[in-house]
Subunit: 223 residues, 2 copies
Amino acid sequence: MKKAIATQSIQNYLKHIYELTEGGQPASTTDIARELNVKPASVTGMVQKLAAEKPALVGYQKHQGVTLTAAGKKAALEVIRHHRLLETWLVQTLGYSWDEVHEEAERLEHVISEDFESRIAAALGNPTRDPHGELIPTEDLKMPPDKSIPLSSLRPNQTGIIQRVNAQNADLLRHLDELGLVPKVCVEVVEYSSFDNNLTIKVGSKSLVLGSNITTKIFIKCG
Amino acid sequence: MKKAIATQSIQNYLKHIYELTEGGQPASTTDIARELNVKPASVTGMVQKLAAEKPALVGYQKHQGVTLTAAGKKAALEVIRHHRLLETWLVQTLGYSWDEVHEEAERLEHVISEDFESRIAAALGNPTRDPHGELIPTEDLKMPPDKSIPLSSLRPNQTGIIQRVNAQNADLLRHLDELGLVPKVCVEVVEYSSFDNNLTIKVGSKSLVLGSNITTKIFIKCG
DNA sequence: AAAATAATTTAGGATAGACTAAATTTTACG
DNA sequence: CGTAAAATTTAGTCTATCCTAAATTATTTT
């Protein structure tokens, strides 16, 4: 009897492969390895197993990178739904702040039942976004369309409303919170430096200069 | 670099050893094996590792059974506190019924943080008993004293209030629920059969005949 | 007290999932 | 193009945790 891959491994691999392939490009073993804090060689081994599952969870041709199959994508969206519902729920019912939730959700996402998932979804009124503004996959595991664009793509005189902040690092999130760069807040670009891609923006009454390490993580709905 | 035992293994072993040694007697490898659904030989191996930890988590002399050290007991009570708080909280905030919670709590208990633990404890008003009436270890990891006695020890004309039901099996719990044998309910013993130890009891307006498979799991505060 | 039975431990093996080092393939560039 | 650099894969190792089978120790029976 061949032993199954641990579901936690599967879920972590698929979740990160999903995020890396959102742009449409296959993910390299190196990138996956960096995300998972594992060596590239380990990724090769695991990815070969994921491709050998029935049904296959990833498409994989050596040196051509890794993509998700329909089954793999579904499994990935299931974990992401768990994660984002959990974050929402930790913030709303237990008073966590948006910078504290990630770690806790990261551990819980692998162990909760579907029953638990639907109970918290219902208790929260089937939310569509998590505390960072990220879209929550629907119950039938479709990722809703996202029309937001990175703050880094705005130019002087353009304005927008912060829709989502794509970051997990607690320190960074706390920093952004202090700057007031949280979902639903209005921002206006004042100046753009083509030299270093820094943006000078106005948030409320404050002026801020932001590097691309931040502006590429904040997504805007143009207004 | 010696690799640590997985915390989930540690916790599951300690939790079950705690329960088996509550009577004061050391636990045999066979009993532990049955509880954990592993073979006795595996228990021997793991118990030797637990005894070699610094500080030691179990006391262990070959052929003499296994006991918990102070450190091991503390770790066991930590998991039990997690479990019972989780059960309480699943029932009270997500509408689980008392027969559904065990499985879910069993998986969550190993992954929640201390922060999570104290948040739910506070949200619940630091409860002292879980939905089955079992005592919840205190925050400083002491198990409160329990003065309840098994229903099986009552005799005709004696009455009591159900304090706790020591069972996890969902089907059994559902059955007990249907019979009305839940904490805080009043029972009166009508008849005792020394032949098979069956008790005939009155609960509300109903009369029931209960075997020892049930009467030894229901604990009573004499009234 | 010897023999039979039960419980426990030892010894040896499997598998999952990580790692390292070496071999190979792809990509970039003079 | 052809070679250097980068990325990837292969091969082999390690540890945790389980397993089975055989050996040993404890307990019970006669």
